[in-house]
């Protein structure tokens, strides 16, 4: 818009100004559509553009479906409000010197939309509570999971036990900048948690130093590992595969490198793996005195 036109109060200038305003709003609309199309249509090899990752564990799937419903309601509200705004801006664009309608409010209308907003929230809260049980309570392990795989007796204060009481209980300890996994039979591993397909895995999260947060997006939400506290979460993988995630709470300089991996394998493979892991750990522990002797002899210790 040139300064000359803006300064000239003639009708031609006004019309041109209004046309330019239209063009601006057209431009805005095109931009928004373009952004949306980009978001939806850009080629991706992964989910999680408009909705969170899921497909690994029932809790992640339930969060996904809850999210999708909430998003749909949210988008309707957003486009309703934004659309109304754009229509008003277009419809009531002003002429120089003219005043708008002197309306100061409408009590009935205002009470109406306050109640409507409250009702929408009641619906959202209802949907959440309906899904909550399936997200918080660990699912039952598959039938073919043996009792001995399930580890120790299951007991906790604030997380309901999985039906049937069968679960693989793993203690996860975060430290700068690695996750350690302690299995029921005394084996442990770092960085990669190996679990049997079909078993409900209940995690007890702890931290050895600062706050960390456990997150494997496809296997459900986060749970913080805070020193001095034990947090809990669970997942149940129904197909073999590798699921990755990373620490989600700033834990120091190499926070970005604190990767976590879950590898789900067939139950018999898990049995073999966990036994081998335990054996190797025992061997390593036995070899420590010999190693120490050698280092002493070589003058390195």
């Amino acid at each position: 818009m040139s300064g000359v036109v803006a300064g000239a109060p003639d009708r031609l200038g006004q019309r041109r100004r209004r046309e330019e305003a239209c063009r601006a709003w057209d431009g805005l609309a095109i931009l928004l559509v373009a952004v949306l199309v980009e978001m939806v249509a850009a080629p991706r090899a992964r989910a999680g553009v408009l909705t969170p990752e899921s497909g690994g564990s029932p809790n992640a799937d339930r969060i996904h479906s809850l999210y999708t419903v909430v998003l749909a309601i949210g988008l309707v509200i957003f486009f309703g409000v934004a659309g109304t705004l754009v229509v008003f801006l277009w419809r009531y664009r002003g002429r120089r010197g003219r005043e708008g309608a002197q309306i100061r409010g409408n009590t009935r209308l205002e009470i109406g939309w306050t109640v409507a907003a409250a009702l929408i929230l009641v619906v959202l809260a209802g949907l959440t509570f309906a899904q909550l049980h399936g997200i918080v309570t660990p699912a039952a392990s598959a039938e073919d999971i043996a009792a001995e795989q399930s580890g120790a007796l299951y007991a906790t204060v604030d997380q309901p036990a999985p039906p049937g009481g069968k679960a693989l209980r793993v203690t996860v300890t975060g430290r700068q900048y690695v996750w350690r996994f302690d299995y029921p039979n005394g084996a442990y591993s770092y960085e990669e948690l190996v679990v049997p397909v079909g078993a409900t895995v209940v995690l007890r999260l702890r931290s050895a130093d600062v706050a960390h947060s456990w997150w494997i997006p496809k296997l459900g939400g986060k749970a913080d590992a805070i020193p001095g506290y034990t947090n809990r979460t669970w997942f149940k993988v129904s197909r073999a595969g590798v699921f990755t995630g990373q620490c989600a709470e700033l834990c120091g300089r190499n926070h970005a490198d604190m990767i976590a991996t879950v590898r789900a394998v067939a139950p018999f493979e898990y049995e073999a793996w966990v036994a081998r892991q335990k054996r190797e750990i025992q061997q390593a522990e036995r070899s420590v005195p010999a190693l120490r002797e050698r280092l002493k002899r070589d003058g390195e210790l």
Binding site: P52, I63, V81, L89, Y92, R93, G100, I103, A248
Partner: protein
């Protein structure tokens, strides 16, 4: 009401004969250093916080540049954490909160028809404390900046994991700016409660003043919690106490509770004055009264009250019983009601208006669209099972930049374009202003809309890099390009301000035909603000005054022509 009655009331003898004495101030830079004039202090606040805004913006661009490509090694991990701590702390404590203090300082006495704040010297003290807080913090940049984030979670921020003095500089920043804010807030509450123009009851208080008043009360309630928390952190770090250290019986969760008990009201402290600006700008440019004055004022108070009850929604992933999470979900959702009411009232204000498309209106409409989206993602985050997936991810980064950049910063821009003529006597360029708006709008959407997707696909916040195999490269590059466009938009406004200070069109008293009393006095206003303090008869006193003047002028013209006719006849 007849013209005579109006004139007689305005000329109430008490107001005319005993104007409050306003101190003479030295001219030049010494005047600025020693000033106790609320207008000068307001301008000091605003310029200082804009300088910090630009510093924080540079920090943001550094982070975006580092994240533009996967496995980038431009910025080392330690430096990245330092920059993200500086960015967050700067934007919250040294930009948004103080710039609102600046606007409130400048505008509240003018809008309520007072000659200054209640305690002018306290006001100056507030500003200098804020400045020193910022300086102490930024000086740490030359030694060892803090690197535990603006939220400084323990144990990461205790002496074992953050041994350098940078963390202590952060603590002193919180203390100094905190005292500054509390003093400023008390001053504002006293001013608004006691110094309103005759006739200005609470029901006629301008909506910006309502929001500033409510915000001030929130500051008074919320800031002591963080002041106590950082003092405890200081004694943990240096004097052997154990408030937050789990190795000797302390609780890291206690820090989280104390921090967010302050931290969530802080979010509304940053946005409420923005609501006030939008409530002032929309009616003026729609040439219509605000739709539902009472609902907007009441919802401001409602938001302030509820915002004190929602802090644990920042801690949904911490080890807390489910029933507690459910409470905080419901309380957080409830805030959406007064906020939604406001948005609908603002949209309805445009209904059947006669909309004047000036830059402040552009920014106000940008605010409406983007803030609504940020509010909706806010409700999604309040639902704690959903939060478990998106917490601590780029989804949250996107959400709060929608409410704080598209919300608070848009409102600050709208306020700047709206009140700059009053503060300087010069108009800002409309052409540069609209260009600045479009750059900011497009840049903003490009930077932050895509970040929702990044978070949903698993990218956590506060990571200095990510691997190419994650597939986050394209989205991050788009976001980075957007951030540069956004920066150009901000620079256009800075340029506009610099150019218009000297060369802008002269504004006159009332360039926008405003509704509130600041437009009654010359631009820039004299040190004593008003020669005569008018009696307030409605929510829109300037409208009444303009109507009175028009009636008087019509009367005078009629009288003149009658006299002239009489002279002709003779």
């Amino acid at each position: 009401m007849s013209v005579h009655a109006g004139t007689a009331r305005r000329a109430a003898p008490e107001i005319l004969l005993r104007p409050r004495r306003v101190a003479e101030e030295p001219s030049g830079w010494l005047g600025w250093l020693t000033t106790t004039d609320h207008k000068r202090i307001g301008i000091l606040y605003i310029t200082t916080s804009i300088v910090f805004f630009l510093l924080g913006g540079v920090e943001a661009l550094l982070m975006r540049t580092q994240l533009a490509t996967p496995d980038n090694s431009l910025i080392a991990p330690q430096a990245y954490n330092q920059i993200l701590t500086m960015h967050g702390t700067t934007m919250v404590f040294l930009f948004v909160v103080p710039i609102w203090a600046g606007f409130a300082n400048y505008l509240v006495p003018l809008q309520i028809g007072a000659r200054d704040m209640a305690f002018p010297r306290l006001n100056a003290l507030s500003y200098w404390l804020f400045l020193f807080g910022g300086v102490v913090f930024y000086v740490s940049m030359f030694f060892a900046p803090p690197e535990a984030g603006w939220f400084s979670y323990t144990p990461l921020s205790n002496r074992v994991y953050s041994p350098t003095g940078g963390q202590d500089a952060w603590i002193f920043l919180i203390h100094l700016t905190g005292i500054a804010s509390i003093l400023g807030a008390i001053n504002l509450v006293v001013t608004i409660a006691n110094m309103r123009a005759p006739g200005m009851g609470w029901g006629r208080l301008p909506l910006f003043c309502w929001s500033a008043f409510t915000q001030a009360i929130m500051l008074i309630v919320a800031l002591p919690a963080i002041a106590a928390a950082v003092t405890m952190l200081l004694t943990d770090r240096h004097f052997g106490t154990c408030y937050f250290d789990p190795t000797c019986g302390g609780s890291p969760l206690l820090w989280q509770h104390l921090f967010w008990f302050f931290g969530h009201p802080e979010v509304y402290i940053m946005i409420l004055p923005g609501f006030g600006v939008i409530s002032e700008v929309l009616p003026v440019f729609a040439r219509k009264p605000i739709f539902g004055y009472k609902a907007i004022a009441a919802s401001t108070i409602g938001i302030a009250f509820l915002s004190m009850l929602v802090w644990a929604h920042h801690m949904f992933t911490a080890p807390i019983a489910t029933v507690v999470l459910a409470f905080f979900m419901l309380s957080s959702m409830t805030i959406a009601i007064p906020t939604g009411v406001k948005v609908l009232n603002w949209v309805a204000t445009l209904w059947r208006g006669s909309i004047n498309f000036k830059t402040p209106l552009y920014f106000a409409c940008g605010f409406l669209v983007l803030f609504t989206l940020g509010g909706i993602t806010g409700v999604m985050l309040a639902i704690f099972p959903i939060d478990w997936q998106v917490h601590g991810s780029y989804f949250v980064v996107a959400h709060f930049h929608f409410v704080l950049v598209a919300g608070a910063v848009s409102a600050i821009m709208a306020g700047l374009y709206y009140w700059f003529p009053k503060m300087t006597g010069r108009m800002l360029s409309e052409r540069l202003g609209k260009a600045s708006f479009w750059f900011q709008f497009v840049g903003f959407v490009m930077t932050f809309l895509i970040q929702h997707a990044l978070g949903l696909s698993g990218m956590p916040r506060r990571v200095y890099t990510y691997s190419a195999s994650s597939g986050w490269g394209t989205d991050n590059l788009i976001s980075t390009i957007g951030s540069y466009i956004l920066a150009i938009g901000v620079l256009l406004t800075v340029l506009n301000v610099v150019l218009s200070l000297k060369n802008g069109r002269r504004a006159g008293n009332d360039p926008w035909k405003g509704n509130t009393l600041e437009w009654f006095t010359p631009s820039p206003p004299p040190p004593h603000n008003f020669d005569v303090i008018p009696v307030v008869r409605s929510v829109e006193p300037m409208r009444d005054i303009r109507a009175d003047l028009r009636r008087e002028r019509v009367g005078t013209t009629a009288l003149q022509s009658a006299t002239a006719r009489g002279a002709d006849a003779r």
